[in-house]
Symmetry: D2
Subunit: 350 residues, 4 copies
């Protein structure tokens, strides 16, 4: 469906059999400047992608292949959708001309020691300095020139977007930030584990890894950079019974002299020109369904119980703005295209 | 987001506050030849559409208005998304230059007496002869020249698409067709009724109007026309706990001498060139999720318990191919555009 | 199914057509000391209860009647399941010999002015001094002698049970308590409102009434009494897509010198003898499914981000411990029966 | 919670870690004549059962053990909840004094050759003649004297209960019976497979094994016995997004001279005295939610499209009447107790 006049960019998706890989296919299929050349999936190689995702049957996509079958000189940009810990070795072996947009956690943490504390041995520390953290709205200048983009996690994207302006402008206190986060189960990927079964997720709300989730140091890294001082947050993730969707309720303390109106004004001003971010009128809060299937982040803010507190709420689709959509947004930045290219989507509701 | 060079078509959506109206907005927003000029909703007029559908907030859509506020000379084509029984009076009053694509049942039944048996008094019988039944794949020639298009119901679309070729080619018996249909609850619209509450639909499978549903005569009308003899079907609808999606299991008897292979070949041949229809390999059956959010119909066929029976399965998204998507497909036919314009969508999965 | 040897207690359920009324029927049906004599439902009177709840068809229950049809001298105890604001007038008119277990908010707030600030005019202020707040574990002595029991709201039950011991023993600071609460939609009752439709709740997380919910003053009333000083909490409710279930994540600050172990020990000690409350091992957190269908409250506690904070989690079934189950528990207290009578249920899982 | 005066029966549950094992625990916990002595689960042995099912934490159940740790002389009756193909070898090794209630398919098919065609090698053919097919309502006399009870599958229970009277009394034709069946996913057990993931089941309707499901020969065995002639049925199972619940729509042809009223009267008469079966008024159809959590089967019948056809609908909870509940019902028959002992439950709704 490409209708562009300049030569399209050739794409490989490494790890095409997972949910984020599939979501990349959905989004890139209508991208006017892209050709999906290779879908790489070691465990399902040799099959059409419709064998594992029937909804792709009608769309003439390339078959799943082994990485060893790829003619890498034909590839301009690789999306890497591997589980955490596997991207480093793969990326290290790719030819240098290939720019990499990585969706794993493997290159998100700048400090190797911190990385290894949470994820274990880093297998490509030499590449880490090249990696640009791919929170598009924060780092778009660096992303434009990057050769290795580490796309943020879903929780960090949803949590930091509303906090960045508030910390940057010193509207809120850097201490005592509490992030209560709810996520659909697709964030756990297509991996076959008992807690991901329908019967275990349906009709259930389940907290896990409270104040010990791997996304906590990633959130703190971003917030500390913006605030220019070390920030610790409380972070409490919970699985709720939906496939897609993420909502963070963030409890903040206003800096002395700052008001709810200041906070709302700060968010509004900061994000006024951002295509994918909508700041709701003060007191109005978003729900997850309104961004489902889109690359959007909706942010609301309302009063705390007293004048020096506030509650900030943000929602994203964890598979889009929290993963594959932001990866495509970063591709657009890399290519110098409008960021909304192929991402100009309205939520599917109901 | 329009990038077309010829003057766009001006659209009004009458009944924009219901689910099919909202789905039309989602689909038309990215249509290159269309401008959404008016969103008409009597009960919510005066508000931005985001007041009733927050997911539309970012998209710069026109506010909801009363029909009396519309400058009809600015409108080329009107989509009518009113509840059954209300379209007739509305359509009858529209200026003649406006072509109407109606999503209600009001003009689907050709025979006025049959209509009135199922729906009550027909309020615009004089218009009925002008109405073209908008099953795109069956009637596209008539649709291209129509001024009033009666889009099919969701059950009739899902049920008749697989049966039309099999009856037309006399592969299956016109007698003893049984259609067991399951639908998501969005087919009931946004109307506020107790059976549509979350607590009533969740974890439940509920049959209703078995062999007495209003879509049964509509199905029979289409099949009888194709088979050139009066056809009666058993039709058993059931609500299942999903918002979108529809699946029909159709139990058929093969004509003497005909085989499962004949039936599969017939479907394959008939639909080979249809953009929105995919016939799966013999024995492979579709599930609803693979067409969610799209205008597609996937069809499978497998063996019955013995050599003279077969089971045909078809799936659609009831709000898209079963309603607003097919309406846009008909718009494209009217405008002489490729039918997939603005409808070239991959299912949202998971 | 009664097998008791002493004369059973005659029960009337006022407002039997709502979800809490139906849940009372489920729980009382197997109660050995109870006869359900009257099911009162003004809008559905004259019908069998199975006309509005088909699952009751097999159980030989009395038909729904108007209140005016009741021979009140036959009634010993009335459960009142009316919407907020309607119980006061009804209760005021009941004969004096009838003890009332009210499930609405009408008698929960001791201070009339506070009540009226949140709910509007109080229609039976003369009865308020008689009302005992029916949080069974807190007030069982007063409940045993009560003639009017005001059962707590679901959020207050789930929120205060874990906080009461921690405040009472001065383990946590009375300031800066944050309660992030998620609830299934059955808490909204069977009332027919658009936000309760399947299509609106499914796949959605929706915050509402953040720091302005009517249950906030009720929570504060209980906590203030226990702590013997005025307490304000932040309270942020959210609807999640399940019919039943409630989870509160509570962010607390430990008093100087107090540790997580102190907090866990306090909870453990306080609730050691409580049949319906389980305190999980330190660091282990409950999920809603494990109490579904039961009168239980499971409580967990885990570390905050630093040594002076902690996160407490509690779960209940909002229709049981949060409504009808606690009402039956209070009935048992009134009757001098073991509190688990008819409530000795294991969760339905999956 | 046992309050019986005669010595209780000692129970072992083999395969206690699956969903049917867990459901047995829930149901037997309140059984007045039973003591749960052993919970056997090879892969989880050595742990408390609450380690794999947190909802059991409060109930003082025995820990999970290996079969080799059991003192079999202490056991009177063993429930066997193993996957198909594993029960035969286990049962063959149990001491003779132990009566076995098997929930697998291993002893359901009387004809060894038919068994092996669908399931592979039979590992205890010598035991097959002893096995009694445990459809309680059909075989209660044989069950009372049995030493090995083969509890029916969920689909066969739901499908044959409404058909048995109609075939026995020759109301319907033995030819052309079509069973369209929908099931919740808990029927697939707690086994960790991709199609059972939340993201794959949610919002989806998925047909599978149409006319090739292993429950088809089991259904045909029962119906053939009742009708005294070989019967073949079409059988089309589908997974719908619920944890529990099963509904069969059954399309039948009436025998010449028989009417819908005859069919309804036959069902009514046949099941008048059955505690667990409710035949609804003619034209009224059941939905799955009304039996959720119970051992009940609700049956409805309505008109076909013409006078010689009818549609029969039945619903069960697949984990209760379709598995563990019917197993307990059979235990009660074995013990000479009222069949509703410990099964006198009202559906959990909503």
């Amino acid at each position: 469906m490409s209708d562009t006049s300049f030569p399209p960019v050739n794409i490989a998706i490494i790890g095409a059999s997972g949910y984020t890989g599939a979501e990349l296919i959905r989004l890139l299929y209508n991208h006017p400047s892209v050709v999906i050349r290779y879908l790489i999936a070691e465990t399902s190689a040799g099959q059409p992608v419709s064998a594992i995702y029937p909804h792709f049957a009608p769309f003439g996509l390339p078959d799943l292949v082994y990485a060893t079958e790829v003619t890498w000189s034909d590839v301009d940009i690789a999306f890497c959708c591997m589980p955490h810990g596997l991207s480093q070795a793969i990326v290290a072996k790719l030819p240098e001309h290939i720019k990499v947009i990585d969706l794993s956690a493997d290159f998100r943490i700048e400090d190797i020691a911190t990385y290894e504390q949470w994820y274990g041995t880093h297998h490509a520390p030499q590449l880490q300095p090249k990696a640009v953290y791919g929170l598009s709205e924060l780092n778009r200048k660096e992303i434009a020139d990057a050769t290795l983009i580490a796309c943020p996690g879903c929780y960090p994207t949803c949590s930091t977007l509303p906090l960045i302006p508030l910390l940057h402008d010193q509207i809120i206190s850097p201490a005592s930030i509490i992030i209560d986060a709810k996520s659909g189960i697709s964030g756990a990927g297509r991996s076959v584990k008992q807690p991901n079964l329908f019967c275990e997720v349906e009709s259930n709300v389940r907290p896990y890894s409270v104040n010990s989730h791997r996304h906590m140091p990633e959130i703190e890294q971003t917030l500390s950079r913006v605030a220019r001082l070390p920030i610790e947050v409380q972070f409490a993730p919970q699985v709720v019974p939906l496939s897609r969707g993420m909502l963070t309720m963030i409890y903040v303390t206003l800096q002395p002299g700052k008001t709810l109106e200041d906070a709302h004004h700060c968010l509004n001003t900061h994000y006024d020109d951002e295509y994918f971010i909508t700041v709701l009128p003060q007191g109005q809060l978003p729900s997850t369904r309104e961004v489902m299937g889109t690359n959007r982040c909706h942010i609301g803010i309302t009063a705390g119980r007293n004048a020096h507190t506030a509650v900030v709420v943000s929602v994203i689709d964890n598979l889009v703005k929290g993963a594959s959509g932001q990866a495509v947004q970063n591709l657009n930045i890399l290519l110098g295209l409008p960021e909304y290219t192929a991402l100009d989507l309205i939520a599917v509701f109901p």
